[in-house]
Symmetry: C2
Subunit: 335 residues, 2 copies
């Protein structure tokens, strides 16, 4: 326990299903509270149980409705479900996201569901920084599934694929060039593809298109011999607003999970995720130490020297690193 | 001079307009050659002259044609022009980019134009890492304008805005939801907006739309009093394939340049760019040192401990940093 926050008690309450305690823990993480390290250490031995499912796709495909439908279906199976809605927002999308949040209140009275929007805009490291510890908290306090939903705009999609055990990419028919364009990047991150709004014109064409693009991305040998160890991303259809196709999606996720456990893919992804998380924390600490050292001012002077052509960026970086090394010699106890 | 590469001679030849020497210098940068530091140091005193213009926008808006038209117009004014076509590519876009490169060969016989495609996929830091030193090289060897064109997919657009003195965002009419969606992020990075393919249906609607979105993004006070020090991003139209509107675009860029110099915005951006570049180099060096130290293996072990719940990521990061501090004490000379 540090200061006035009783971390162990918050975790205990969270495990009993108290949403306010969960919300408090996530806030401690988001705000980089002084007890963040304590939260991280306390939940560590409790983690490893939850399945982390990423849901992404371009705006307008019905991601929020689909997430809500998936939550409902998971609840019917008796799972506790945590949802992190990651919001790489600009002032211009605020309205839509507010709408999303209101829609998600379908589940507001269900204590087996915890929903949290996380704004990542303007934060150092964005999604990459705050989401992993938040996932870890939800895992540690006993959620069976953590859904990480992101308004898929560019980089955030790729980041989410790095965080999740499995990534579901949602598309919708009739989105024209925009979707064609988006697909290129999206194809590489999806483990499962879903054409939502499948009651609309063009749904079958979208499915056909996607299947073709996926098979183009599959190496020729794999296509010829169909190694059983390889996962071929399936393309499903849903009408999330009526729940149509959602059970099939859950079955597919279950099938993926079995494959991922058996093939070692799941452990591989979790190891890579942990590596990145450790490195990010270490690099952030070094960056802060660098800033503390120079009070921000030394970097300003070095930048001015570079702009004026008096120094090159490598020389400037050397000066920073030398200052850092000198400081760790003087402040740390000898080895 | 280091090894068999005579950097000073390459720079001399590049300043005389030899494209092969320029290409060689850029390759040394891209490949993180052992002489990269020497290249960086040698060009530093020669930099600060070039205008760096970012051109971005979603796929399909005619970016490559527009860049080519801008190059032609700048050449007519007597400028030496360097083009860096940044390619955050996936295997699925290879075809289109090859097409772009072929089209750009309009300028293949013009020694006042240097064009280089840079692949950033899979590279640590991507656009952010390799582009700044490449811009610096082109600036240092005497190009008057450096155009940085990116196939605008998500994050790369934002990164380009951080690299350029001025960012031109290209859109096209009739792209539907995709563009609506893209606009949100795009509005914040554009200094000048261009609706290309303006001979197509819907061009005026697209211009109107954009102007409205831009005015929504302008704080109320600024709208009421119209401070002269504020730059309001204009919305132009072009038909790049015929050259229509390109002169107006150049006039606007000139007007922007004057405003940016007078208001201090230009220096501010260049200082921020230099800061980020210095920090990136320093952090990369630290990351490498960390990897060298642990032979990569220690990180694997720490990640496994985190996945298994035996350690939390903060504890793991502490262990890495302690190893780093111990090593800089033992290998560096005392302060």
């Amino acid at each position: 326990m540090t200061g006035s926050v009783d971390v162990a008690d918050l975790i205990r309450q969270s495990r009993e299903g108290r949403a306010r305690a969960v919300a408090r823990l996530i806030s401690l993480v988001e705000d980089a509270s002084p007890v963040l390290r304590e939260v991280s250490a306390e939940v560590a031995p409790l983690t490893g149980h939850a399945r982390v499912v990423g849901i992404t796709g371009p705006p307008g495909v019905g991601k929020s409705t689909a997430t809500s439908a998936v939550v409902r279906a998971l609840r019917q199976q008796g799972n506790r479900v945590g949802v992190l809605a990651i919001d790489p927002s600009s002032p211009f999308t605020g309205g839509a996201l507010l709408g999303d949040r209101i829609r998600m209140q379908d589940h507001a009275l269900d204590t087996g569901v915890f929903i949290r929007s996380m704004a990542t805009r303007g934060r150092l490291g964005g999604v990459a920084w705050a989401t992993p510890p938040a996932i870890r908290v939800l895992d540690g306090v006993g959620f069976d599934v953590v859904l990480v939903e992101t308004v898929g705009v560019g980089q955030s999609e790729v980041e989410i694929a790095g965080l999740a055990d499995v990534t579901v990419v949602l598309l919708a028919p009739g989105m024209g060039d925009g979707v064609q364009a988006a697909k290129a990047g999206i194809l590489e991150i999806g483990d499962v593809f879903v054409v939502n709004k499948a009651d609309r014109e063009g749904a079958q064409a979208a499915v056909r298109d996607l299947r073709q693009m996926i098979s183009l991305g599959t190496p020729r040998e794999a296509r010829a011999y169909e190694e059983p160890a390889r996962w071929r991303p399936p393309v499903l259809t849903t009408v999330a607003s009526t729940g149509q196709g959602v059970d099939e999606l859950l079955d597919t996720l279950e099938r993926y999970q079995q494959w991922a456990e058996g093939s070692g893919e799941l452990r591989g992804r979790r190891l890579r995720r942990a590596q990145r998380e450790i490195e990010t924390i270490a690099m952030t600490a070094l960056r802060e130490r660098m800033g503390d050292l120079t009070d921000g001012r030394r970097l300003d002077e070095l930048a001015a020297a570079v702009v004026d052509g008096r120094l090159d960026p490598y020389g400037a970086a050397d000066e920073m690193l030398a200052a850092l090394a000198a400081s760790s010699r003087s402040s740390d106890p000898p080895a």
